[in-house]
């Protein structure tokens, strides 16, 4: 009736003792390690780099039992930083280990920033290293810095009540919900490893006691080539992906502006003669937007149609100019080459870099102004 459990009785204790005796994997006890939050690389020439890392420092001043004061830390995490000279930043963590009081762990790195010199020097080594490291989260943000990474990461005169890493990350992420295209490590590597496309990162600058986004830094493979300014980022994002909540400011006459907040923007590409010397790339953009700000008397319900026309003209012209600029530099952050490939059977990839500057970019923008605000 009931089964005999002889073998179970013998094996289970053996199993248990084995389990508890021989399990030796190193521990990383949360409060005994230093968790790296942000990494900065400054190139100083001759293949040498100054690397800076930040780790949060949560220590509270209330002595034993932090619970006595408040459950919530009163003043957010403080930051500790370390920096040192190294080669190409590859073994940054190992390099710093000698300086850290506790083990350094990179599993929660949120941010990696490079100064312009570093970006120009090339990120190849760092990137292949990042792509290999299983510990790194793929949703971490990358940015190029105008100025000095070390200064940005170590200075503590910011207005924000948070660690600088979190500050930068919030800055980037919040903006990528609006005008800026979404950027993170996964997307950067997508373009970096992909054929016929080039990656980009946001460009940051420290301005007094705060940080600001300056635009996008465009790379050719792993090297920084050019940047596009803040005001053109809307155009870039419009041609790059579907999005909403961006703001486009148009100057339709001297000193007269209308700002359009798009509710919806869709882009679709079509390519003809992909393998010819001058491929035709057609971009069709549909913008649905609301007017948020306008110079007085610039727009009313009646004139919204004509304003929409103005917008269309402006967007088309500027988009073409932007693409032309990319073509001249031979970079393709909009992944137009990939679009051409996807529309062309037996795409001739080898000659593409030569043909790309000659490609005809046609852009057709249609703007639909949904509403003009609550006053005329």
């Amino acid at each position: 009736m009931r089964k005999k459990h002889n073998s179970t009785q013998i094996l289970i204790p053996i199993f248990c003792s084995l389990f508890f005796l021989s399990g030796c994997v190193p521990t990383y006890i949360f409060d005994d390690i230093m968790i790296i939050e942000g990494i900065g690389y400054d190139y100083i020439g001759n293949g040498k780099i100054i690397g800076t890392i930040t780790t949060p420092n949560f220590v509270q001043g209330t002595g034993s039992g932090g619970s006595q004061s408040t459950g919530v830390p009163a003043n957010g995490p403080m930051v500790r930083t370390l920096s040192a000279k190294t080669y190409d930043g590859k073994s940054l963590i190992d390099k710093f280990q000698a300086e850290g009081q506790m083990g350094l762990q990179g599993g929660k790195t949120r941010l990696m920033i490079y100064n312009k010199a570093m970006a120009k020097h090339g990120l190849l080594r760092q990137l292949s290293f990042r792509n290999r490291d299983p510990d790194l989260p793929r949703d971490m943000n990358l940015a190029v810095v105008e100025g000095n990474c070390r200064e940005i990461l170590t200075s503590n005169d910011y207005q924000a009540q948070m660690s600088v890493t979190q500050y930068i990350q919030n800055l980037i992420q919040d903006n990528s919900r609006q005008n800026y295209p979404e950027t993170d490590l996964a997307k950067f590597l997508y373009a970096y490893y992909g054929a016929y496309m080039d990656p980009f990162m946001p460009l940051i600058r420290k301005q007094g006691d705060h940080l600001e986004l300056r635009g996008l830094a465009i790379f050719k493979k792993d090297r920084y080539v050019m940047s596009i300014p803040n005001k053109k980022v809307f155009l870039f994002k419009m041609l790059f992906q579907k999005f909403n909540q961006g703001v486009y400011d148009m100057q339709y006459a001297h000193g007269k502006h209308i700002a359009l907040r798009n509710v919806h923007t869709a882009i679709s590409y079509y390519v003809r003669n992909g393998n010819s010397a001058t491929p035709d790339i057609y971009a069709k953009v549909k913008v649905i937007g609301q007017v948020r700000q306008a110079t007085p008397k610039a727009i009313s319900k009646r004139t919204s149609q004509s304003v929409a026309k103005l917008f269309e003209k402006s967007l088309t012209y500027n988009a073409k100019a932007l693409v032309h600029q990319f073509q001249k530099k031979g970079v393709d952050p909009l992944q137009l080459g990939d679009q051409v490939r996807s529309f062309t059977y037996h795409f001739d990839g080898a000659s593409w870099p030569d043909r790309y500057p000659n490609a005809h970019f046609h852009c057709q923008v249609s703007v639909n102004i949904q509403q003009t605000g609550i006053s005329n």
């Binding site: 459990h5 994997v25 521990t27 006890i29 949360f30 409060d31 968790i35 949060p56 949560f58 039992g65």
Partner: protein, 504 residues
């Protein structure tokens, strides 16, 4: 097992009385055994009984007074006169002995004559039917089983007033001869189940049986399992509904609970109240309970695993909170967790053993004073205190106490394996438990039934409870002889015609 048998044999009285005289001789030394010569004008007899087992008033009022009657001159007359429906007349010594110890009066004409009248005068001295205590309910009936099997059967019979309710009595225990009753409904309950359980009870080799939980442990399918395989309940309404469903209920004399079998694991997590509220609410609460159990089993082990090995998993918003609370703690997370868990375990045990009023005080002292003090002293972190207290709370959300104990127990293997291999250790431990559950049977029926084997129709009343009119079938796993509870067509018809449009 041979040694058990040997001991049982030895445990039997060494010299069973051969004659009635011998029996009396054996019993004479007992102060509560009364053996006297009764004389009236016409009739002389010997009366013997245990005054602790019988209702003495009843003897005075309804037995002795009739024996004084003038018409009585022999045992035959006595039988005719006595106002009882069932007076046994026998010479069988074993029966006499058994009945005497059950609370019967023996009447003999001569002290040595082997012919006896056995008059029932059992005293029912027990608790009155009281409110259910371990399985309290807000909506349902407030009666609960008591120690007396007669009252218990009465409580159940009242709820199942049909002739098909079959009660089968057995005696278990070499010495104790405890009454055990199997309750089932003829024509519904699976015969095979009934045979299995009957055979298991009959083949039991025990000297005494005092409680139904003891019986459950003795007859379950896997004696080494941590999981209770039969549901014990003290609610007569739950028993009745289980019997209607096609289960078997077992009552043991002297135990204020019944066993329901076969059982699946989900039934341990359903309360009878679930059937008394509307189905979305019942389903929500069942899911809540399920979640609570999952939380209770794994929360502290996750704490250990994540803090010891997988710092990556901590959400960044929580990091500073966790860090500040862990900062002053000198120990590894495992020590901290074990310390708190064992403390809570001590509190629970102390609370359960102490009288109710002291128990409550202990709970407050332990929970509040020690908890806060240990956080302030920097022995444990306050995040952990919250986790452990919540998981203790969650464990007792289980309506069944035995299951709640199991759940409280199995967190320790989880915590230890979390220390050894982190999340991987938890996963391995979990796998072992789940494989064990897959293997486990209750009366030969799969224990985690609606999941494996997957039976979609039984899922209607497992993790969620669908409305009654969807539950027209008895649970498949009981293999009842009458699988239908109600005819689906009629259920539909009762609901009224399907309207063809709004407002028509």
């Amino acid at each position: 097992m041979f040694w058990k048998k040997k001991r049982n044999q030895r445990a039997e009285p060494d010299t069973p009385a051969k004659t009635i005289g011998g029996l009396f001789h054996q019993l004479k030394s007992n102060p509560d055994f009364i053996h006297f010569n009764h004389r009236s004008d016409t009739f002389t007899c010997w009366i013997s009984f245990f005054h602790t087992l019988i209702d003495i008033n009843f003897v005075h009022r309804d037995v002795l007074s009739f024996l004084y009657d003038r018409r009585v001159s022999s045992l035959n007359d006595a039988v005719r006169v006595l106002p009882m429906e069932k007076v046994i007349r026998t010479k069988d010594l074993t029966e006499i002995q058994a009945k005497l110890l059950d609370g019967y009066i023996i009447v003999q004409e001569k002290e040595s004559s082997s012919e006896c009248l056995l008059i029932p005068a059992t005293k029912n001295h027990g608790r009155q039917v009281t409110e259910a205590e371990t399985e309290t309910s807000i909506l349902g009936s407030h009666e609960s089983l008591v120690e007396s099997i007669e009252i218990n059967i009465n409580l159940i019979r009242k709820r199942i007033p049909i002739p098909q309710l079959a009660i089968e009595e057995m005696r278990v225990g070499k010495i104790s001869n405890t009454r055990v009753c199997l309750l089932s409904i003829d024509g519904v309950t699976n015969k095979e189940n009934l045979n299995t359980i009957r055979q298991r009870i009959q083949s039991l080799e025990v000297t005494n049986l005092l409680d139904v939980a003891q019986l459950a442990i003795l007859i379950n399918d896997n004696g080494h399992s941590l999981f209770p395989q039969f549901l014990d309940t003290e609610r007569p309404d739950r028993i009745a509904s289980a019997i209607y469903e096609g289960k078997i209920a077992i009552l043991v004399d002297g135990a204020p609970a019944a066993l329901l079998l076969p059982t699946t694991i989900v039934e341990f997590f359903s309360a009878f109240d679930d059937y008394l509220v509307s189905w979305p609410i019942a389903s929500a609460y069942r899911l809540l309970r399920l979640f609570a159990i999952a939380f209770s089993v794994t929360s502290s082990s996750f704490y250990v695993a994540i803090l010891t090995f997988h710092y990556q998993l901590i959400p960044k918003e929580l990091m500073s909170t966790l860090y500040t609370s862990r900062n002053s703690v000198p120990y590894d997370p495992i020590i901290e967790v074990l310390l708190l868990e064992i403390m809570i375990e001590l509190l629970r045990e102390a609370g359960a053993r102490l009288p109710t009023k002291v128990g409550q005080t202990i709970g407050i002292v332990g929970g509040i004073v020690i908890g806060t003090a240990s956080v302030q002293a920097g022995i444990t972190s306050n995040v952990l205190l919250i986790i452990v207290a919540m998981s203790a709370l969650a464990a007792f959300i289980t309506p069944n106490y035995r299951m709640a104990t199991t759940i409280r127990f199995i967190r320790f293997p989880f915590i230890l394996s979390a220390q050894v291999l982190g999340l991987l250790g938890i996963a391995l431990c979990y796998m072992l438990f789940v494989c064990h559950l897959i293997k486990l049977t209750s009366l030969g029926r799969p224990y985690i039934e609606p999941i494996f084997p997957l039976r979609v129709s039984d899922l209607k009343d497992a993790y969620i409870r669908l409305p009654y009119n969807n539950q027209t079938m008895r649970p498949l796993f009981l293999r009842t002889r009458d699988p239908g509870r109600a005819r689906p067509k009629r259920v539909q018809a009762k609901k009224g015609k399907h309207k063809s449009d709004i407002d028509e």
